[in-house]
């Protein structure tokens, strides 16, 4: 209680407009105006890179320019971003190695049954989004978000953990996206002399394989971010 009152007290202070805060406000407004003025001075016309990206699209293996940038022209950036996802999980494990998951029997069977119904449907949607990504908006990140949502539902309904016989599937699932990316990158370096340089005609296949693997990792990562900590079975709260 006492702590709460302290917080409240601080909260009152937070709303007061003291002179230092006025100065900070004025400086912030000044900065925004300055940046806006600088942005107005941008040269008109199409950005140079956008033109280049559209021109190279026929060689990229895909029709969606966003996928071409993410997985082909700047695929290396995306490789590092996939590594960031793994780092996020490791960061959570560094703070909270033990899982804090409450496993209890659901009060009604409705939620669990609903999730089990939803499961195949959402997997199909995720796969469809992935396939769509080659030609239209979509891709591994979008599909992975759907899988992540599925995972969260799964954990919330306690289906997954009561069914999880082997927790050691978790690390491979989280790592397979980066593993596929690195394998493709290094294999292509050895074969073609440059990292992630796709052979002409096979770009789409390789992109889909990498994205397919990343799909699972992204889904698993998002679920694990929700769980927080390495999940371990325990039958309490």
């Amino acid at each position: 209680m006492r702590d709460l009152r302290v917080l409240e007290h601080h909260h009152d202070d937070d709303t007061a407009m003291t002179p230092p805060r006025l100065i900070i406000l004025a400086l912030s407004v000044l900065m925004v105006v300055g940046l806006a003025l600088a942005a107005l001075s941008f040269p008109a016309g199409d950005a140079r890179l956008a033109t280049l990206a559209m021109a190279a699209l026929p060689q990229s293996g895909v029709l969606n320019p966003v996928t071409a940038v993410l997985l082909n022209y700047r695929g290396y950036d995306t490789l590092l971003e996939v590594a960031v996802l793994l780092l996020a999980i490791l960061g959570i494990w560094a703070v909270a190695p033990q899982a804090r998951i409450w496993i209890r029997r659901p009060d009604t069977p409705v939620l669990a049954a609903f999730v089990q119904l939803l499961l195949p449907l959402m997997v199909v949607v995720a796969g469809y989004l992935l396939w769509l990504g080659a030609d239209e908006p979509g891709g591994a990140f979008q599909g992975g978000a759907v899988l992540g949502a599925l995972g969260v539902l799964w954990v919330a309904a306690a289906v997954w953990l009561s069914n999880a016989r082997r927790g050691n599937l978790l690390r491979p699932l989280l790592g397979i996206g980066l593993a596929a990316f690195i394998t493709a990158a290094v294999a292509l370096l050895l074969a073609r002399g440059s990292l992630l340089e796709y052979p002409s005609g096979q770009a789409k296949t390789i992109i889909l394989i990498i994205e397919g693997a990343a799909l699972f990792s992204i889904g698993a990562t998002l679920t694990l971010l929700f769980v927080g900590g390495f999940p371990r079975r325990s039958d309490a709260p």
């Binding site: 590092l80 490791l90 990292l195």
Partner: protein
């Protein structure tokens, strides 16, 4: 293909990245994997370095597209020096960490948490190598994020409440700094339409967009480099982390964001070199040096003292900005800054590692309880003393050579006030280092009454080895000058 440096550039990133992934997948095999991974990383870095020194600057076109559409990795003299520094300091810290994290003083819960050190450290290594090799301002943002996340997670490993608060603040500051940088990149792209550093360097002019980019990038990176007055997050994070992590943060992570600042200013923002900006950075550097040294002198705990010493020494990195930017091509000034990075990384890593060994053995890092430790644990004490020699910049040491170049450059250009600040910084460093060395070397009668934990050979060896290196760097000044001249990072007249 194998005799082309360009082939090895991506492998210097993929080797530690693959190791990190394998360490994540197979946590039980960490002993073997770290040895193989470190060896592979060092080998690729060594080959890339050697080939760049032999054949000149190298460029790898990722995906075969080539800038500006694709991303290029670039390696010149500055790049390979940073890669080699990371490999050497990283190898020593890897060795140290093997002894430190398995030490019996840590309980089982702590050791479970510490197991995450290995994948995190190799992610950090990969991220640093990627950062040093990147030739693209947006890709630099991605590497900056990787470095930050790995560094924050490594900080949090210590697990104490104090360190969690420090890590949280570190995370928020890091994110804010990255976002500032990213917004600066938006202005570069909006104003000039490309992201490749060399391509930008060929088209930039002093427009409002460039000025906005310069302001955002400089503030963001100064925050991440902990330049005074944006240093507030550094002492709690560096002092509360575990010893191997403190060494990594102070020796390498700080250098990463400074390296980007240096690269982007020399290669892209140079049309603003004759504005007030470099002088402002110089002034903040001087303030950092004086303020950080004063704070270091006031500390009563060893690790906080070393952390404030980092706040002070970051100041040196910024003192020569006007020389580097207003008069481009000043190789001596650049050599001063780079030698300083090399000297500081080895000496500060050694100082943190030996402080960590002392803390592990005695369970205490108050300056008052350091008395007489020379008689009990001579190896870490001697390592700290040698590292101190380099931090104070007494001859012969890496710090001495760095300051020699710095004084040479400042006096040649008439910046005698800066020269005075450099000398004053050295004197103040002598004061705070002596505050540690005096109790350590004091003769104590009742020495056998003091029980200390055993410090494994691996820890003593790495702390001592880095200290020896900090001294030996004294003889490398000429080579640093020669290597830096390989594809020097400023835009040459031809590019203008």
């Amino acid at each position: 293909m194998f005799f082309d440096a360009a082939f090895w550039l991506p492998l210097a990133i993929m080797a530690p990245l693959t190791t990190a992934l394998l360490l994540f997948l197979l946590p039980r095999r960490s002993g073997l994997l770290t040895v193989i991974g470190a060896a592979a990383t060092i080998a690729t870095v060594f080959l890339a370095t050697l080939l760049v020194i032999q054949n000149g600057a190298a460029r790898h076109t990722l995906g075969g597209w080539g800038a500006p559409l694709g991303i290029d990795l670039t390696a010149d003299g500055l790049t390979v020096l940073m890669l080699a520094l990371t490999a050497i300091v990283g190898a020593a810290i890897t060795l140290y960490a093997h002894g430190y994290f398995t030490h019996p003083v840590h309980d089982a819960t702590a050791r479970t948490r510490y197991a995450n050190f290995w994948p995190l450290w190799f992610f950090l290594w990969a991220a640093l190598n990627a950062l040093f090799l990147s030739g693209d301002v947006f890709n630099l943002y991605v590497t900056l994020e990787l470095v930050s996340f790995a560094a924050v997670a490594l900080t949090a490993l210590a697990g104490k409440p104090a360190v969690l608060a420090a890590a949280m603040r570190y995370l928020l500051v890091g994110l804010l700094g990255s976002l500032f940088y990213l917004m600066g990149v938006v202005f570069l792209y909006g104003g000039f339409g490309v992201l490749d550093i060399a391509a930008l360097g060929a088209v930039v002019t002093a427009t409002p967009a460039l000025a906005a980019a310069a302001a955002l990038i400089t503030v963001g990176l100064a925050m991440k480099t902990a330049l005074f007055p944006l240093h507030f997050w550094l002492p709690p994070a560096h002092a509360n982390a575990t010893a191997p992590v403190s060494a990594l943060l102070s020796a390498l992570v700080i250098k990463g964001s400074f390296y980007i600042l240096l690269r982007v200013w020399l290669g892209v923002l140079y049309p603003l070199g004759e504005t007030i900006a470099p002088y402002l950075l110089m002034a903040l550097g001087a303030a950092a040096l004086l303020w950080g040294s004063l704070q270091a002198i006031r500390q009563t705990r060893l690790k906080l003292l070393v952390a404030y010493s980092t706040v002070a020494q970051i100041g040196y990195l910024f003192l020569l900005m006007p020389l580097l930017l207003a008069e481009r091509n000043n190789l001596v000034a650049l050599a001063g800054v780079v030698c300083f990075m090399l000297a500081h990384a080895t000496a500060k890593a050694s100082a943190f590692l030996s402080a960590g060994a002392i803390q592990l053995a005695t369970g205490d890092d108050r300056l008052a309880s350091l008395r007489g430790l020379m008689q009990i644990m001579p190896a870490p004490v001697a390592a700290f003393a040698m590292a101190g020699v380099s931090l104070v910049a007494l001859p012969p040491s890496g710090g001495f050579v760095a300051k020699w170049f710095m004084l040479d450059a400042t006096l040649a250009s008439g910046y005698w006030v800066v020269a005075l600040v450099i000398v004053a910084g050295g004197l103040m460093a002598a004061v705070y280092i002596m505050r540690v060395l005096a109790p350590l070397f004091r003769q104590v009668e009742t020495v056998e009454a003091r029980r200390v934990e055993h410090v494994p050979l691996s820890m003593n060896l790495s702390a001592f080895g880095l200290a020896v290196l900090a001294i030996l760097l004294s003889f490398t000044g000429v080579y640093v000058l020669e290597i830096l001249a390989i594809g020097a990072p400023w835009v040459t007249e031809a590019g203008l």
